[in-house]
């Protein structure tokens, strides 16, 4: 896929664990793991907003575009 999820990079930068982020933004760790591994088909604006708020970053820090 051309869209790359860099959630793990941001989590490492903020020294935060996946489970902590999941509990902060109110989604299950399984769903967040689906997003982190790039298996997700889409992301809701509300989820993106919550992730950005929790990690104090912009959507561009999490989502990257790369040519196939």
């Amino acid at each position: 896929m051309a869209i790359i999820i860099e959630l793990d990079v941001m989590l490492a930068k903020r020294k935060m664990k996946l489970n902590d982020l999941a509990s902060t933004i109110g989604i299950t760790p399984q769903n967040l793991s689906v997003l982190k591994t790039g298996k997700a088909k889409a992301i809701r604006f509300s989820t993106l907003n919550a992730i950005c708020s929790a990690l104090e970053c912009t959507p561009g820090d999490i989502l990257l575009f790369a040519e196939d």
């Binding site: 989604i27 769903n31 967040l32 689906v34 997003l35 298996k39 997700a40 088909k41 889409a42 992301i43 809701r44 989820t47």
Partner: protein
């Protein structure tokens, strides 16, 4: 969910009971064919009506059954055995489907496969009911068991209904498969 499981359990027993009555009455028909009166009506509880539906052939069988009898062949075994095999498949698929419902699987690939296979069996039945009598006559003529037996071909209302049911069930299964894909995709929206 509890209701579905409970109802499915009873439906499963009902299917099993009906399948047993159906197959047992057919077996009785074959075993007791000599002892049954010329009208070929077996007067037993429950099985009576089912028995009648077995020996009262429709479509090509309706024309071929008396001719086979005249030639000295047992039309019940020759023509009825195909129907009983198809019915057995349908009973098996229904039993399997309600077994899945009973275990709490409602919209899974296995359910869809069961429904799709039921559609396939019904459509196959139409082809079989057209081709099988032709094959029977061909084999009898090839083995020189009878020269006067004519080829019978018909496409009646029962074949049309089976074909329609088969196509509709197959399309429903396809729609369910597409719905399942949509649901799976929806689950991947975070």
């Amino acid at each position: 969910m509890h209701k579905i499981k409970k109802v499915s359990k009873y439906v499963r027993y009902l299917i099993l009971f009906l399948a047993f009555i159906h197959i047992a009455s057919f077996a009785l028909t074959i075993l007791l064919s000599d002892k049954i009166c010329s009208s070929r009506l077996l007067d037993i509880e429950l099985g009576g009506s089912i028995y009648s539906s077995i020996v009262e052939f429709d479509g090509t069988g309706k024309n071929l059954a008396p001719v086979l009898k005249e030639e000295g062949f047992d039309s019940t075994i020759i023509l009825g055995s195909v129907d009983i095999i198809v019915y057995s498949f349908l009973y098996f698929l229904l039993f399997k489907l309600f077994g899945l419902y009973m275990r709490g699987f409602i919209f899974t690939a296995s359910n869809i496969n069961c429904i799709r296979n039921m559609g396939r069996v019904l459509m196959l039945w139409v082809g079989l009911s057209i081709i099988y009598p032709l094959i029977v006559v061909f084999i009898i003529r090839m083995l020189a068991l009878s020269d006067s037996l004519q080829y019978h071909f018909s496409f009646g209302s029962s074949e049309l209904i089976r074909l329609m049911l088969g196509v509709v069930i197959y399309v429903i299964a396809w729609i369910m498969a597409e719905a399942m894909k949509l649901n799976q995709e929806q689950e991947l929206v975070i």
